[in-house]
């Protein structure tokens, strides 16, 4: 009974670490990706930034998330002569990696909005920010919602990579329990069910978002 309570506490802690890494990395990734996607779209007010953002997405997408975590945890602190907590380094690396994909999704979503919508905003005297905020992004969101939620789901699964630098997130917690109890089946089933539960919540959120766009097309 004591062991069950202890393991439940460990699992709750692991879930909390996973959820925290996932939420922080998702928020940073969405923020950076949305800004870069808007700046690099076809009708950007700053087209000269497109090249630099292209290099950014090439680098973030081209290096595996695992390697980025190792660089963020081992290389960058030694180069800068500072200490970076493992959670910060790994979560930052995941956000960096994911932001490249989000940039591409947002850019493609914006570019898929018909050119006529931009022209209509122009003749009606909309500023770039009004055009983006009131007309283009709400329509682009309908285009890119499935891909953005897919990226969030991918990010959730990538949080298991935090285990590689010793952070006791959900997967690492399970591995620790298995090493003590030597009974992997129920532990791995429990871990898989928890990830599935998170994914189910994401899918429900996606359905709600898509429901909001019904009738507009």
């Amino acid at each position: 009974m004591n062991a069950l309570i202890t393991y439940t506490f460990l699992f709750v802690h692991g879930i909390a670490v996973t959820a925290a890494a996932w939420i922080v990395a998702s928020c940073v990734s969405m923020l950076v990706g949305t800004v870069f996607g808007m700046l690099s779209c076809r009708y950007s007010a700053w087209p000269s930034l497109g090249g630099a953002i292209g290099v950014y997405t090439f680098v973030t997408k081209g290096i595996p998330a695992y390697v980025q975590i190792l660089i963020a945890y081992f290389i960058i602190p030694s180069l800068l002569g500072i200490q970076i907590p493992g959670f910060v380094a790994a979560t930052g690396a995941l956000a960096f990696c994911s932001s490249g994909y989000v940039t591409e999704i947002v850019r493609a979503g914006i570019n898929a909005v018909p050119a006529g919508q931009w022209d209509a905003c122009a003749v009606l005297g909309y500023s770039f920010s009004a055009t983006m905020g009131r007309i283009i992004m709400p329509q682009a969101l309908a285009n890119m919602a499935p891909a953005l939620f897919g990226e969030c789901e991918q990010l959730l699964k990538s949080t298991s990579l935090l285990a590689t630098i010793g952070i006791t997130e959900l997967t690492r917690t399970g591995m620790n329990i298995i090493s003590r109890e030597l009974n992997p089946v129920p532990v791995y089933v429990a871990i898989a069910c928890i990830y599935l539960l998170f994914s189910a919540l994401l899918n429900i959120a996606l359905r709600c978002v898509e429901g909001r766009f019904n009738g507009q097309r």
Binding site: A120, A122, V123, G125, S127, I135, Q139, G215, Q216, R217
Partner: protein, 231 residues
């Protein structure tokens, strides 16, 4: 009055408008006719600066168009696209009030103005519909309503009958004549011969980016051989 002098426009290194000069006067419908690719749409788009001009001058009621801010220009010139380009994420009413809100008009005033104009155009009952639920004729009336909400002095319509049936074309003609009473300057590009015959007022005929004929009134058509042949 809108005055265009020696307007020249290039697109992809091709001269699409070649030193065009014309006027649009209040209370009249000025129609730009010609075959596809003659430059009608380019001319209208260059009037609202959707296409940059290479040379020439556009003045609207004695103000140089290029000195106007986007907001000032939007308030002076209303533009109705061939494909209407209604905002698909907004309802009919929101399509009409949004430009007013962006302009800085209070929401209550914007709502009152939009409802008044939708009523005038017979679209009040569709206020809560999304554009995708409307027919082509209805979408066009909403597009006109959206343009009129900003109370422009000039209304430009690009190929307004391209996706309309004869009944909706007649409704549009009646609507344009109603708007003329308020002294609006109306400019229309069209290659619809029936439509132009019905509204014949001031007609410029364009060919390969140049104005080759101008006919003021149907009675003067004898002096415009190209236009007569086209009609």
């Amino acid at each position: 009055m809108v005055s265009v002098k020696n307007l020249t426009v290039y697109a992809k290194n091709q001269r699409v408008l070649d030193a065009i000069s014309c006027t649009l006067v209040p209370g009249r419908i000025t129609c730009f006719m010609g075959k596809s690719g003659a430059g009608k749409t380019t001319l209208l788009k260059s009037l609202v600066q959707l296409i940059p001009i290479a040379a020439g001058e556009i003045t609207i009621n004695d103000r140089t168009a290029h000195a106007l801010s986007p907001q000032e220009r939007a308030t002076m010139i209303g533009y109705v696209f061939q494909q209407f380009n209604l905002f698909s994420n907004l309802t009919v009413l929101e399509n009409c009030i949004d430009p007013l809100i962006v302009k800085g008009v209070a929401r209550a005033d914007a709502l009152a103005k939009a409802k008044e104009i939708l009523e005038k155009l017979g679209m009040r009952e569709y206020a809560d519909s999304y554009p995708s639920a409307l027919s082509g004729g209805q979408q066009q009336r909403v597009a006109i309503a959206r343009a009129l909400c900003l109370q422009p002095q000039v209304l430009l319509l690009d190929e307004p009958t391209a996706s309309l049936d004869p009944i909706n074309t007649d409704i549009l003609i009646a609507l344009l004549r109603t708007l003329l009473i308020d002294g609006l300057i109306i400019g229309v590009s069209s290659q619809d011969m029936d439509f132009v015959r019905k509204i014949f007022d001031r007609v410029y005929y364009l060919e390969s980016g140049r104005i080759t004929e101008f006919c003021d009134g149907l009675g003067n058509l004898d002096n415009c051989p190209a236009l007569r042949a086209f009609l």
